[in-house]
């Protein structure tokens, strides 16, 4: 099975987790990666630049109407929901918070599931909120692949546990195993 995009959701402890992800993903990882991390609405985009300096891949904040490209990691801007359109471009909205969060993981995952259908991989990582549970369920319903971090290995188990209660994931793995799996799937494309 080939996949056209990976969506990842994380909250508590997310920053360290992101550093690990980006140190493990190789330069030739081609599938686009789209990330919602819960962050303060006031934080600016500087931290994305800092991550970019430490990464093998190009990391950038998602812009409205931007076309999603291979080999790129996109991060949802603070205080906006990030949605994916059918034509594989981004939309930003500031409607109400969902699960107390904006950006919300569910909002990204649901729109991504409907845009990519069975060509999408969804990953729920550490977090202290149930955001992402409805979204990963939608990904599964649309034929995509559902991966959840093993709660035993997550800094905060609440989000992975909530995701597992909503849907039976295809994989429950540690962070390092998830990255290995993503790399393996990405390699199959060639």
């Amino acid at each position: 099975m080939q996949y056209d995009a990976v969506v990842i959701g994380l909250s508590a402890g997310g920053m360290n987790v992101m550093k690990i992800i980006f140190s493990l993903l190789p330069k030739d990882f081609s599938t686009p990666v789209i990330i919602v991390q819960h962050i303060s609405p006031r934080s600016d985009s500087q931290w994305i630049g800092l991550l970019n300096d430490k990464s093998n891949l190009a990391i950038k904040e998602a812009d409205e109407k931007e076309k999603i490209k291979n080999g790129t990691v996109y991060i949802a801007p603070a205080n906006y929901h990030l949605l994916i359109e059918k034509n594989k471009t981004f939309s930003l909205t500031i409607d109400e918070r969902v699960n107390f969060a904006r950006p919300s993981i569910d909002v990204l995952f649901e729109s991504a599931a409907e845009a990519y259908k069975n060509k999408l991989i969804g990953v729920v990582l550490t977090g202290s909120n149930h955001d992402g549970a409805k979204g990963i369920k939608r990904i599964k319903e649309c034929g995509g692949l559902a991966i959840v971090q093993d709660p035993k290995t997550a800094e905060s188990a609440y989000m992975p546990t909530s995701a597992m209660a909503a849907v039976k994931p295809d994989y429950i793995l540690s962070l390092e195993e998830i990255i290995d799996l993503l790399i393996k799937i990405d390699k199959q494309k060639e």
Partner: protein, 283 residues
């Protein structure tokens, strides 16, 4: 087997686009509000939320419900109109406004400002506060417009929840405000009422950016977090409307994630503050 269609299921996806088109068309034909060039993922999310709450069994029933049930249509209209806003939203923007835009406004004997998509008015009041502090408010008219009449009515009242004032005070201070923010309103139990002196030069008016045209020539336009909902073509059309409404040397302020780069008008402005999305129309 009939799928359950009042909530999202993958089964409705093949027909989703035509369902959505029929729904926005019904809203347009009967009520004149045009969402036909709004971003689809956004419209779809709002419509599916309303669908789930509606008691309708099937999304294909929604167009006739819209045509025949004004109360339902009004609810949907509220769903489609995003009213989320704050006073001094993005304090860094208001700081830049004070530093970079106020000195330009000061050179005019009379100042006209258009706040397009003002929603419930929080940012129009923020503008009035800055102008008052800078000694410019008495020679200013703020035209604050929105297509959502309910939001406009609330804006006009100028009554906001007391719970929000702590956050707004922090925003105000971060934006460079030096006065006591609580002097701008009167607390009344769980609500606050904005001072009459802030309201006096704001004209609240119903105007739809999609279907209405230029109504004034102004020195400054603020339109923040409205264009993100529009498809590219409608963004361009609206930018043309703004360009035509500004005097030469006039200022355009957009939302933190909005820009001019993909419009035909990019060359016709100077960037006054790139990060805060403040542009000056060339002479």
């Amino acid at each position: 087997m009939k799928a359950k269609l009042n909530q999202y299921t993958p089964e409705i996806e093949p027909h989703m686009q035509s369902h959505l088109a029929a729904i926005v068309e019904a809203v347009y034909q009967k009520y004149g509000y045009d969402f036909r060039q709004y971003s689809e993922a956004h419209i779809k999310r709002r419509i599916m939320n309303r669908m789930a709450m509606s008691g309708l069994e099937d999304i294909s029933q929604m167009p006739s419900k819209i045509l025949n049930d004004e109360e339902f249509a009004f609810k949907l209209l509220q769903d489609l109109s995003i009213t989320v806003t704050e006073m001094f939203r993005d304090p860094g923007f208001y700081r830049s406004l004070r530093e970079n835009v106020i000195p330009i406004l000061r050179t005019y004997p009379f100042i006209k400002i258009w706040h397009a998509g003002c929603s419930t008015g929080e940012e129009a009041y923020s503008m009035a506060i800055i102008l008052q502090e800078e000694g410019l408010y008495d020679r200013t008219a703020i035209y604050a417009t929105d297509f959502n009449q309910r939001a406009l009515n609330r804006a006009k009242e100028g009554i906001f929840s007391n719970k929000l004032m702590k956050e707004y005070t922090a925003n105000y201070q971060l934006s460079g405000g030096k006065e006591s923010f609580s002097d701008y309103y009167t607390s009344n139990y769980d609500h606050v009422i904005m001072n009459q002196s802030l309201k006096k030069n704001i004209v609240w008016a119903n105007h739809n950016l999609v279907t209405d045209s230029v109504f004034a020539e102004v020195h400054l336009i603020l339109c923040r977090n409205v264009l993100i909902y529009f498809e590219r073509e409608l963004q361009n059309k609206t930018q043309k409307l703004f360009y035509d409404s500004l005097i030469n040397g006039g200022i355009l302020c957009l939302g933190a994630k909005e820009g001019l780069r993909f419009t035909d008008l990019y060359e016709k402005y100077i960037e006054l503050d790139k990060k805060q999305r403040i542009f000056k129309k060339k002479y």
